[in-house]
């Protein structure tokens, strides 16, 4: 546990020292939001309807950037090799890395949701906005676990920028669907009382991904890396 915390604080410190990198991920999410507005047209009504999908896609697209970056640093100067040789368990390494990635993606949430409120003229109160951010965080957690597992593998490849989204996007279809549905229900009102079931589903996916990927990580990165 202590090694997990040490690794996590190392990752967070790295994020802090490389603020420009984290900010560029945020900027990318904002640009995605902007591009979708242009693609879907200036009609506010259409944009408002598409908001949940646009938000989740912004999260998904920026996640690949963040995930690729998180292992690029570790591969530089063979830092990962040094880490693996230390007496820390690979499982702790995975959970620290996945938590750091989840936190970075979570940090995008409030900003992107707030911008969506402004761009798409959403008339929502603070409680609804908080719920949207909460769902964003659950989605981010669902992306971070399989994303970290795959990024650990693809970071060794020359074509990592192609490989990661190719492998990750079809895998996270359940997270994408559940988040979009839940966000839609939060925005348009939950007349049929469906929100709870989508939320449970999203949580279940998070738990499954976090446990399965944690178990498999040691096969993706091994001693002698």
């Amino acid at each position: 546990m202590s090694s997990l915390l040490a690794l996590l604080s190392k990752d967070l410190l790295l994020e802090w020292r490389e603020r420009a990198r984290s900010l560029s991920v945020l900027l990318f999410a904002v640009v995605t939001l902007l591009l979708f507005s242009f693609a879907l047209g200036p009609d506010v009504e259409t944009l408002r309807e598409a908001t949940p999908g646009v938000l989740v896609l912004a999260l998904l697209l920026s996640s690949t950037l963040a995930l690729n970056e998180s292992f690029r640093l570790e591969r530089e100067d063979r830092a990962l090799e040094g880490l693996v040789m230390r007496p820390v368990s690979l499982t702790a390494l995975f959970y620290a890395k996945a938590s750091a990635n989840a936190l970075l993606l979570t940090f995008l949430g409030p900003v992107v949701v707030a911008l969506a409120v402004v761009f798409y003229s959403l008339e929502i109160d603070v409680a609804t906005m908080t719920r949207l951010v909460g769902l964003w965080c659950l989605g981010a957690a669902g992306l971070a676990a399989p994303g970290t597992l795959y990024a650990a593998m693809t970071s060794r490849l020359k074509s990592q920028d192609v490989a990661l989204p190719l492998l990750l996007f079809p895998l996270v279809v359940p997270v994408l669907l559940a988040s979009v549905k839940a966000m839609g229900l939060v925005l348009t009102g939950d007349a049929m009382n469906q929100l709870r079931s989508w939320l449970t589903l999203l949580l279940a996916f998070d738990i499954i991904y976090w446990s399965v990927c944690g178990l498999l990580f040691r096969f993706a990165v091994e001693e002698g890396e």
Binding site: Y150, L166, P174, A178, L201, I208
Partner: protein, 228 residues
Amino acid sequence: MNIRKLLVLAGLGLAAVGTYFGLFVAPPERHMGDVQRIMYVHVPSAWIAMLLYTLAFGFAIALLWSGRQKWDDLMVGAIEVGVVLNALLLVQGSLWGRATWGVWWDWDVRLTTSLVMAILFAGVLVLRRMAPNEERRSQWSAVATVVAFIDVPLVYFCVRWWRSLHQIQSSPDTVDPAMVLPLRLNSFGLLFLALAWMLWRAAIERSSRRASEVPLPTRVAIEESAHA
């Protein structure tokens, strides 16, 4: 005669009889007419593709557990044949959908799951091609196979909540026995053919691995003596 040839012969025989029964003996379906006969290849493709993915999952677990390369050979065989059958399944389904629903594609649970499944397992094959060395290749493919296999029920469940149009499964009790017979024959025929194909692919993988294990000077010497 080795097991693969036996499987091919049995498979071809069963599929030939099954197809004959399916096309000429089984009655046409009341609403869809002759179009429904595509079921005799569509349903077996789905079953056998699922079975192959399940086998691949088993081989992946065995590989991660034991580290023995023979599981990797079998796993790549199962995934490749599974992906081909999966692609055929999508094409057949699309044709059938056009004829009965009037659309080539619908975002229904089984269609969407089949498509995502094909992409997931094709992704495993892509990752395989990119891996830097042999040990990484087998371990990464096994990891990706396990994750993909676990993901399929999640996708299915999620899309089912999202929407549905595809009919639910029929059971043999509700289907005319004249329709069940060709379906069973074709399913076993396809099963034997797919297994033979999987074993063949595994044998190719094993040979190419062994060839790459031979040190380069020896390989050059062998090639030179072959040319001489």
